[in-house]
Amino acid sequence: MTIALTERTGWKPVRFDASQATLYAFAALLCVLVILPLSWLVIYSLTDKSGGLTLENFRRLFTESVFLEPLITTFIIATSSSVICCSVAAPMGWLVARTDLPLSRIIRALVTASFVTPPFLGAIAWELLAAPNSGLLNKFFRFITGAPQDEHLFNIYSMSGLVFVICCYTFPYVFVLVANALDRMPGDLEDASSILGGRAWVTARRVTIPLALPALLAGAIIAFLQAMTLFGSPAILALPAGFHTMTTKIWSLFQYPPKPELAAAASLPLLILTVMLLRAEHFILGRRGYSVVAGKQSAPRLIPLRWMKWVAFAGCMVVLLLPVILPYAALVNAAFSPIATTLLTPANATLHNINFVFFELSATKVALKNTIILGTLAATLGTLLAVVIGYLTARKAVPGYRALGFLATAPIAIPGIVLGVGLFLSYTRPPFVLYGTIWILLLAYLTIELPAAYQQLQSAYRAVHPELEDASRILGATRLQALRQITAPLLCTSVIATWCFIFVSVIRELSAAIILFTSETKVISVLIFDLKESGDLGAIAVLGLAMLLLTFTVVLFVNRIPGFGSGVRLRNN
């Protein structure tokens, strides 16, 4: 190799580095976003109407039965949901990841569909199916068995009904965690067991299950948290059944005259419990870690099920009937039927509901417009925020990056309705009166969706070797330049996936929006909820289907992008 002598280019780079300033600005924004509502929440819970410090709110919370009963109810619901979700989702996850279950891709797709369905919509659909007298399933039961009018098989307006609906839309969390853990388990571990003579079942029991246990525990905790902080489903099913949960109680405290101090006090136990459980989850998972880091890994060897194959498949499909197939059918039925729970026939099909929703209901246009605008804004800003904060923490670019990472994931611990209360308290007072504008909703959505977006991008950053940025910096690029020219293009697919993810989550968010909206800033989820109050089921079905259509379009688009991970947490509503 001969290298010609080149001229020396003397070069002294001297320029103002905007990197640090920009990065600090983003960090400050994050602090305001998260810390402000939380501080107001704490302040309000400790003050009384005249502004003095008091523990009265907490005393009332823990002594009056009006508050104690919902607390106990919530705990019971959360625990049972968690247990049921685990017992259903774990075997399914094992079947899909470790055996030769046929058509497992369909199973995974249906699980994704239940992930993406807003729980409150599912609750409404299940009302159509399992209301004791008018529910389609009960009618069918009476039709088959000839039972008298007032007998029914299912009563959705009950605690067990509520737990059932919650489980339907919470089990995907456990499924994804377990399936992912099993997917990543190297086949060697089980091979080692079988070489020593362990048959399939023994291997599963002694090797696979213990290794998947951390993921299962984490899933149980997440399921518990989701069930505890859901608002939409209890609001729809608990009231007719005659009981309150903590979230519906908090919401009821906002009715006239609003008692924000009590609402704040009632929110804090939820918050604290969530934080504790998340620490526990982190502790359980953090020690072992998801991935088994080693040299070469072999793909898992699938356990042959033989004759059990189709039985297992049928079992899975029966489970997936519940969150997806039956409810969607009920919604389609209600959308085109004259009466929501009359079975649709070619004879009585009507477009009346569609006509009503899109041409007569004056709130539809506003709600659609707001939803799409907010979804787009939140997705764009949220992705940007997540990219920069993710960079700051992944590359340790500022002092205190650990605190930043904590702040970015902290909102996971704040239930949606609690955040709504906190934001309401923060922004209905000077200097920033944002109540009544879409900006307060935007803040709520950003805060709620940031953690998941941040985590997604974190794993993307980990996949981009830091030396790629170092190489550009040593050649003269500032941090921001390196981020823009090197890292961002490499993160492209993750960035797009994150954008879509935030968009979809915003569409289905209800628990914060229900506190913060006004007539001008209504969104589709709130509109559906309002319609539920007056019992307009046909209109709800049409809007709900429109919502699902929008969501699935975006999700399918994203899934076309190679490399979109499926282990992603969606916020509950």
Binding site: A4, T6, D470
Partner: protein, 353 residues
């Protein structure tokens, strides 16, 4: 080009000092190799020089300018250095040409100049016909050359190399060792080269700094390091050495298995435990006892392996101390036989305690 000076450089994470009071002066235009096992702090030292982290204590001067100190550290983009990374760090979304021209574009040179320099470096690194390929489409050797081209085209003051050859196969590595040295001779950049491979160090370096547990154990020319190791670690790390322990009789004699061995290269503390090192191929084996020769011990052959061009013996002396001896292939002394070891005093290096 400029000289690089490290003064008392220390980097601590919590209480662990990854780089511990490292002081080194690198003449401008010389190639200094930081050699040591993994975890010894050599890569951290390199990254400190590059400016990717700040020192806990100590300073770094380049060309007399203070670049790094605990109070203020100039960021990498302002140091006018270049670096080749162990993973090459080629940007997968840019072509070879774009990778190489990146630094030039940052310096805001005009298009013609960029094109000219780019073509020059590509042709000399034999990458001209791959300018439009993506790094993922290149072989390991070609990727390494792209990394090289990218680092050199910007005419840095200082060139930093982080184990650049460790990802290449053995043959290519050998060839590239000489290339790196040749390049250096041509351009005379001040170069800091990090590696764990002593053959690379011996081939390429003007000065080798052997590092262990964050400290520089010994710095000197390759001959210095090899012939005159001053500590057990250096002796073991460079070349194949026997390091044996015994008791010092006086300043120059070590007692081992009843024999007094005269050593050179350092002084013992009399009466204390001491060690000596001797290269495996410096020990001579005799089938019969010798008269009037210094440093002769009786031993038994424990094991003998024929390696084609040489024989590898494991012999054991009276107090169960074992020596490895490498001789030419001619003489074969069978296992279990008695043999006499001659340890020439000039090759018996007294080691620092």
């Amino acid at each position: 080009m400029a000289s690089v000076e490290l003064r008392g450089l220390t980097k601590r994470y919590d209480t662990i000092a990854v780089v511990d009071d490292v002081s080194l002066h690198i003449e401008h235009g010389s190639l200094v190799c930081l050699l040591g096992p993994s975890g010894c702090g050599k890569t951290t030292t390199l990254r400190l020089i590059a400016g990717f982290m700040e020192p806990t204590v100590g300073e770094i001067f380049v060309g007399g300018r203070l670049l790094s100190s605990p109070a203020r550290t100039l960021p990498p983009e302002q140091r006018n250095m270049s670096m080749i990374f162990q993973s090459y760090a080629l940007w997968p979304h840019m072509t070879v040409a774009e990778n190489v021209a990146y630094g030039l574009k940052l310096r805001k040179l005009d298009r013609d100049t960029i094109a000219r320099k780019l073509n020059a470096i590509l042709s000399t690194t034999r990458l001209a016909n791959m300018a439009d390929r993506y790094p993922g489409e290149l072989s390991g050797g070609q990727q390494q050359r792209v990394a090289l081209a990218r680092a050199l085209v910007v005419d840095p003051e200082t060139l930093l190399l982080d184990e650049p050859l460790s990802n290449l196969d053995a043959n290519l590595r050998e060839e590239m060792r000489f290339e790196v040295r040749r390049l250096h001779d041509e351009y005379r950049y001040t170069t800091v080269y990090v590696t764990h491979d002593q053959a690379e160090a011996m081939t390429t370096a003007d000065v080798i700094a052997v590092m262990n547990a964050g400290k520089i154990e010994q710095a000197g020319s390759p001959e210095d390091i090899y012939d005159r190791p001053r500590s057990e670690f250096v002796a073991r790390f460079i070349g194949a050495s026997n390091v044996v322990k015994g008791k010092a009789l006086d300043e120059n004699h070590l007692s081992l298995a009843g024999t007094a061995l005269r050593c050179t290269g350092g002084k013992f503390a009399p009466g204390r435990d001491a060690a000596l090192s001797i290269r495996q191929h410096d020990i001579r084996l005799h089938a019969a006892a010798l008269q009037a020769v210094e440093n002769v011990m009786k031993a038994t052959v424990v094991r003998q392996v024929f390696l084609g061009s040489s024989r590898d013996y494991l012999v054991e002396v009276a107090d169960a101390t074992q020596f490895r001896v490498v001789t030419s292939a001619d003489e074969s002394i069978p296992q279990g036989s008695a043999v006499w070891l001659e340890l020439p005093p000039d090759h018996c290096r007294a080691l620092r305690a």
